[in-house]
Amino acid sequence: MARIIVITSGKGGVGKTTTAAAMAMGLAQRGHRTVVIDFDVGLRNLDLIMGCERRVVYDFVNVINGEANLTQALIRDKRCDSLYVLPASQTRDKEALTKEGVGEVLEELGKGHDYIVCDSPAGIEHGATMAMYFADDAVVVTNPEVSSVRDSDRMLGILSSKSRRAEEGEEPIKEHLLLTRYAPERVDRGEMLSVGDVQEILSLNLIGVVPESKAVLNASNAGIPVVLDSESTAGQAYNDMVSRYLGEDVPMRFLEAEKKGILSRFFGG
């Protein structure tokens, strides 16, 4: 049976899809049979981030409705053999994701995969609750910013009360905090919440800190998950996150501002 990981946040635009793509690619690169599912019905974007938008024929809702089988809908990643993408539907109504339908698809996928990564839509509506309902693990993506932290806390409340594990009285979902768009130099200037601040407020196990990086936009422009850009700080940070998820003890990086040269230091550049 596969382990189901939901990438969630509550707030939009914090980096859920980037994280889902990175998590899935990172797991697959390490040899785990992985599938990543886009739960954002109506606003699919994971296919773009994964660079497979032109290969979408059938989608998640087609499978649930029995209009296509999984083999037809799954898109195999061209860079990594053990990675598959299940795209969201672009046009259907959101209620198309029924609990039974989602459950059946996950169960079938679980037979042939080690990890199922669920990319949640923003908000706390139907799509988001479906994405987290069957999860074993949750990565709560948060920016060091007030509304994002608050929404993450709300999402934690939902994870602990509205999931399958909560309803069936099983061991709760394992929750992890991923801080993204972190700018250490702004933290130093007292302009941005620090990792410690966010951890203290949410009291959550920290799985990674991804620094603000131009590489993220470059990667999405090109349809290449940023985790594959091992030159970039964001790519390295995402790689660390995957290793930590798999139980490796990897120290946190990119928490300190880069040292400036003497000239820019003097003139406060």
């Binding site: 932290v149 608050r150 709300r154 933290v187 200037r189 302009e191 919440l193 601040d197």
Partner: protein
């Protein structure tokens, strides 16, 4: 921090500490509210109705508070009775 920064902002005046303080209060409040049993408002209403059968009390004379610690739940009931007796 460059020399010119001395004339700009002081690092202690950053807004991050304000953000942290606001969030701590907000999150504590949100969590307390979210853990409240859903029957609380109804309970308060019914208790008030029973009391008003015997004593003339104000609509907001009854307050029901719910708190949760690590190992215990506390349901606090506070009723303010008027100074002189009831309806007789």
């Amino acid at each position: 921090m460059g020399i010119l920064d001395i004339f700009r902002a002081n690092r202690d005046q950053g807004t991050a500490s304000v953000a942290k303080e606001r969030l701590q209060i907000l999150v504590a409040h949100d969590r307390a509210f979210r853990n409240r049993p859903s029957y609380l408002p109804k309970l308060q209403e019914e208790i008030l109705a029973v009391i008003r059968k015997y004593v003339e009390v104000d609509m907001n004379a009854v307050s029901v508070n719910y708190e949760q610690d690590n190992d215990q739940e506390l349901l606090e009931l506070n009723i303010v009775l008027p100074e002189a007796g009831g309806r007789g």
